[in-house]
């Protein structure tokens, strides 16, 4: 585990030195300002309907649940893409990965180290920004109107804190595995970008049925399980030989 953390720490340090990381933060901040505007509009609509604070609270709670769930998922995936795009691509191009493969570290340790180096900052930042958004929306738009905070329900909270990180972990592992053995890494990034939008649009109807219900937790855990199975299956294809040969391109 020590050696895995050595890889994680180095990659994190490298991430913090890249412009791509700060560009992703700036993009997220811009996205959140836009989102804040949209949520403010929805809250105002509820208030204009003349609902009581209790009715506004019950109406706003699913909105908070949807926001925290969707925001955390999409932000985590966005951070994954930006962080991962730079570090592993450069390691393959500069062939520093080949040197790492010649050390006594096992391939599994290297893959896990590389995955955690993308997963940990993505999850931490994703959660931080998602809950920061909830706090901000409450602080600036809800509390001044009804005098209290409206928090997401238990189901979206569990989905956000458990299922979403699981989805992201297996997605990162899958991405790393594919990046290691595919010569043209751009395809992976394009696929991930598509996946981010796909998840965004694809989950919208599901959320309409009720982000506050436990079904969102089970659906998310199901997605994580499918990703885990695909990752386990594909990880068999990851060999040092494939990594070296795909680094030539």
């Amino acid at each position: 585990m020590n050696q895995i953390m050595v890889i994680v720490k180095r990659d994190l340090r490298e991430t913090l030195r890249t412009k791509a990381f700060y560009v992703s933060i700036a993009m997220v901040l811009f996205f959140m300002v836009m989102l804040g505007g949209a949520v403010k509009g929805q809250i105002n609509t509820l208030i204009e309907k003349g609902l009581s604070p209790a009715e506004i609270t019950s109406a706003a709670q699913p909105l908070m649940g949807t926001t925290v769930f969707m925001l955390s998922l999409m932000l985590m995936m966005l951070f994954c893409m930006y962080i991962n795009a730079y570090t592993l691509t450069m390691e393959k191009v500069k062939r520093s990965l080949e040197s790492l493969l010649c050390t006594p570290l096992s391939l599994r340790q290297i893959c896990l180290g590389k995955s955690l180096a993308v997963f940990l900052p993505s999850v931490i930042l994703g959660l931080l920004f998602a809950f920061g958004a909830i706090a901000g929306i409450n602080q600036f738009f809800i509390a001044p109107k009804i005098g209290q905070f409206v928090m997401p329900g238990a189901a979206p909270l569990v989905a956000t804190l458990v299922a979403v990180p699981l989805i992201v972990f297996f997605l990162v592992t899958l991405m790393i595995a594919l990046q290691l053995i595919i010569t043209n890494i751009r395809w992976i990034h394009a696929a991930l970008m598509g996946l981010i939008f796909g998840v965004g649009f694809g989950l919208s109807p599901v959320l309409r049925f009720g982000s506050a219900s436990w079904s969102i937790v089970f659906i998310s855990l199901g997605v994580a399980a499918v990703l885990a199975l695909v990752t386990i299956y594909l990880s068999r294809l990851v060999t040092k030989e494939r990594i070296i040969l795909s680094s030539k391109g």
Partner: protein, 325 residues
């Protein structure tokens, strides 16, 4: 070879074949590098040198045969604990300083945890390596600002940071200027003096001739030559005989020209060529030089000196890779 056997060989390849795509890159490769050797691995571009190194370092599993390093199966991750390496691409991290690059590998090899209580010693280890490769004054600079020669020296330092017993170098002086090459070569010699076993892949024959005691020559995926360099030079040189004649006139020169064809016709003469007053003959080991001297005397060609040829590594290389030997 079993683990725990009295270790005499740092590297041992037994019948290694490697197929990539539909091309057989390595064909039944067998050789051993003894502990303490500076082993030169020679061959033209595309001969299979890098693939061999990748098999030795466990990057490529062989299609058949077994590779051992320090007595362990090369596919076993733990076998590389006491192995240092410099690959064709140096693999350094450009965004990190020289010190950080070495520190990272120190930690990868578990050095920092072993020396946690003596962190100062750990730092001293890195400093010592940087001093050895004369990069102490640039230790805090990002590697991206380094020249090719400096990068190679840093890669050498990185290969030693965990005090390995075996060092594997793939073309360590490729792309380095002559001064840098001398420095890199000197570092390798210093390492050998410290008792390290060195496996040096190169197509720089001068470099190999200067520093290696044993060699293997690979061409088209096959080992064409293998053994102690001096012995190979002696053995291959022994087959060459140089006869200094005392010819002075055009008539004698004409006679000598005529004799070349006769000598070539002898069953034990593989080649014969005339170089001014000299005759250079390649014998297959069965022949008798006195018979040749007698033939010269019969033609009234004086013989001033008969000596064994001295063959350089370059000549060995040319003969073997051209299929002449």
């Amino acid at each position: 070879m079993k683990q725990g056997d009295n270790l005499a060989e740092a590297i041992k390849l037994e019948g290694i074949t490697k197929i990539l795509g539909n091309r057989q890159i390595l064909k039944d490769i067998n050789f051993a590098v003894k502990i303490g050797d500076i082993f030169g691995y020679l061959g033209p571009n595309g001969a299979g040198k890098t693939t061999t190194i990748r098999v030795i370092l466990g990057l490529f599993p062989p299609n058949s045969g077994k590779a051992y390093i320090m007595g362990k199966d090369a596919q076993d991750d733990a076998a590389r604990q006491k192995v240092g390496f410099v690959l064709e691409a140096d693999g350094l991290y450009d965004n990190m300083t020289a010190y950080e690059n070495l520190d990272y590998y120190c930690r990868i090899y578990g050095m920092s945890s072993a020396l946690k209580s003596k962190r100062h010693d750990d730092a001293e280890g890195i400093d010592e390596m940087l001093e050895l490769v004369e990069l102490s004054d640039r230790a805090g600079d990002n590697v991206s600002s380094y020249s090719k020669g400096m990068r190679q020296k840093l890669a050498l330092a990185r290969s030693m940071v965990h005090e390995p017993d075996l060092l594997i170098f793939d073309e360590p002086t490729a792309g380095v200027d002559p001064t840098g090459q001398i420095e890199v070569r000197q570092i390798i010699l210093n390492l050998a003096q410290r008792g390290k076993t060195i496996f040096l892949s190169s197509h720089n024959l001068d470099e190999v001739q200067r520093i290696c005691n044993r060699i293997a020559l690979i061409d088209q995926g096959e080992i064409k030559l293998y053994g102690e360099l001096e012995k190979l030079r002696r053995d291959m040189g022994r087959r060459e005989v140089i006869i200094e004649t005392g010819i002075t006139t055009t008539e004698e020169a004409r006679l000598l020209d005529g004799l070349v064809a006769e000598l070539e016709a002898l069953s034990y003469v593989t080649s014969c060529c005339k170089e001014a007053q000299k005759l250079r003959l390649q014998l297959d080991g069965r022949g008798d030089v006195s018979e040749i001297v007698a033939m010269l005397s019969q033609k009234s060609i004086g013989v001033e000196e008969v000596r064994k040829g001295e063959i350089s590594l370059e000549e060995i290389y040319a003969k073997v890779t051209k299929g002449g030997e």
